[in-house]
């Protein structure tokens, strides 16, 4: 069955002021895609994300939303470090923020809103943390809370910015498994920015590789090749497939 088109980038140039960061990008975002956005630091991954979310207008070209009529609602999971850690907000209060738009201007969350927020917490497996302060959680728990908040927006597309940043290996695996589950079980379209090439390659179905003023879109096998990565990161890379799992490492294999 053909996937519905959600969004199309048509010759899009992105940047801030007069400074171009990404030039002439063209690609399509389809329903039920699972896309990883990778690339060196400062190449423009977050810029691309902001444009997809509608928070950054393109300097050139067009971003066309859902001509097919497919509904598109973004659930955004920002980097945890970007949030103010001083606010004494409980996990439940943070998750409810995802529903603020639906609740409406000047109105407070009602009983049904609280119930739905708890349902979202249950969906990511942290119902027991509802009354704990967000700032006191571990990295993995915070990430699950932010994913629950994104789910509270009733999204069709889940957008995650470096969801495993600063986590130990077990938490990384657990979060990536949760994201994959949300894709497979709930049919959510996923867009995920990450710098962890091995982890991304083993979970996503498509890759957008962002480099200075250039980008590539394709399957993991097409994009994450030794030659491609070595050229972009300016250092030798080795991409191996062991029992169907990718292993990407810096340096040449002996």
């Amino acid at each position: 069955m053909e996937q519905l088109e959600l969004m199309q980038f048509e010759d899009v140039t992105l940047g801030y002021g007069k400074k171009e960061i990404l030039s002439r990008m063209s690609f399509r975002l389809l329903a039920k895609d699972f896309i990883g956005i990778v690339g060196p630091n400062g190449a423009g991954k977050t810029t691309l994300l902001r444009a997809i979310l509608g928070n950054l207008k393109p300097l050139g070209g067009r971003i066309i939303r859902s001509e097919s009529g497919a509904s598109i609602r973004f659930g955004y999971v920002p980097q945890r470090d970007h949030l103010e850690q001083i606010f004494p907000l409980t996990v439940l209060e943070v998750v409810q923020m995802g529903m603020y738009r639906q609740i409406g201007l000047g109105r407070y969350p009602g009983k049904s809103d609280v119930a739905f927020a708890l349902e979202c917490l249950n969906h990511v497996g942290i119902t027991s943390l509802e009354k704990i302060l967000f700032k006191n959680l571990s990295g993995g728990q915070k990430q699950r809370t932010l994913i629950a908040r994104a789910l509270a927006t009733r999204p069709t597309v889940l957008v995650l910015d470096e969801p495993t940043n600063g986590m130990d290996i077990l938490s990384q695996k657990s979060i990536l498994s949760l994201i994959k589950e949300l894709h497979e079980r709930d049919g959510l379209t996923i867009l995920m920015v990450s710098h962890l090439l091995t982890e991304v390659s083993n979970h996503v179905e498509k890759i957008i590789l962002v480099e200075a003023n250039n980008f590539q879109v394709g399957t993991v096998a097409e994009i994450l090749t030794n030659a491609n990565l070595s050229r972009i990161y300016n250092t030798p890379f080795t991409v191996e497939s062991i029992h169907g799992q990718y292993l990407i490492s810096v340096g040449e294999n002996q």
């Binding site: 955004y76 606010f87 004494p88 907000l89 923020m97 603020y100 738009r101 908040r149």
Partner: protein, 273 residues
């Protein structure tokens, strides 16, 4: 002691001072929570200073000082709000510019005024003991309007303060909500400064909320405790100011500082238990 306090506040000008202090204290302590949490304390200092320049302009040219203070403060609000979008000049530098230029301007403007020195001292420390009932009504009206805006749009202000990026993704306009927030802060400061003075207004913005952060771990309690500290400090400060013949503003600040110290000790003790 309690009887003494009641006797002091039976005197009309002390009653006026009490109501003024409580009204200014409630609103400053409430907005101060956002100001401290968002790490924009210097916005409060700069707006207070800009407001005092507006006051000086009013005094010098014979205009209504409160109105000229309000106009200049709102101009400062727009300037700061515009700069929040700019990446060329750091935000704290713009605030510092506002603070220093406004401070120098107030001094220069009042230096040629016959009562310049007295006016400058009045701006710094306020004249809470010379408040008229009309001014109290104006403050009460302001409190009702600003308080209503913040109660109605509590979740919007909180969301923008905690996670503006996510808020923008959901369709909230962070620039609009930031400007509205700064307008409420600017309005409060410009109306409060004549009665309470820069020192007391700025102290009421920061000290109660910092104490509350040390004492509580809930967003709603944070606002309530901050307001309670301000409301308690005002009568105690005014009482000591009256009985010990001390300037009222600094005495209230001293009481708040003592509560801050107690909050700090309580915080350390509860953590170590």
């Amino acid at each position: 002691m309690i009887t003494d306090i009641f006797m002091v506040f039976e005197i009309p000008f002390m009653q006026h001072a009490l109501w003024t202090g409580i009204l200014v204290g409630i609103m400053c302590a409430f907005l101060g929570v956002y100001i401290v949490m968002r790490r924009i304390v210097f916005v409060g200092a700069s707006l207070a200073q800009i407001s005092s320049t507006g006051f000086a302009v009013g005094i010098l040219f014979g205009w209504n000082p409160m109105l000229s203070a309000l106009c200049l403060t709102l101009l400062g609000v727009l300037m700061f709000a515009y700069n929040l979008q700019s990446k060329r000049i750091p935000q704290d530098s713009t605030l510092a510019l506002g603070y220093t230029i406004a401070s120098a301007s107030s001094i220069l403007l009042l230096s040629k005024h016959p009562k310049g020195d007295a006016d400058l001292i009045g701006l710094l420390f306020g004249n809470i003991l010379t408040i008229t009932p009309d001014q109290i009504w104006i403050l009460l009206g302001t409190l009702i309007v600003l308080g209503s805006i913040h109660l109605i749009f509590y979740k919007e202000f909180l969301f923008i303060a905690f996670d503006p990026e996510m808020a923008e993704t959901l369709g909230f306009n962070p620039q609009f909500w930031n400007i509205l927030f700064y307008i409420t802060v600017g309005t409060l400061i410009s109306l409060a400064i004549k009665s309470a003075g820069i020192l007391l207004v700025f102290s009421l913005l920061v000290i109660p909320s910092i104490s509350a952060i040390l004492l509580t771990q809930s967003m709603k309690r944070l606002f309530l405790v901050s307001i309670a500290i301000a409301v308690i400090s005002v009568p105690i400060g005014l009482f000591f100011s009256f009985t010990q013949d001390l300037p009222s503003g600094p005495t209230i600040v001293a009481v708040m500082s003592a509560i801050l110290l107690l909050s700090f000790i309580t915080n350390k003790l509860t953590k170590s238990v």
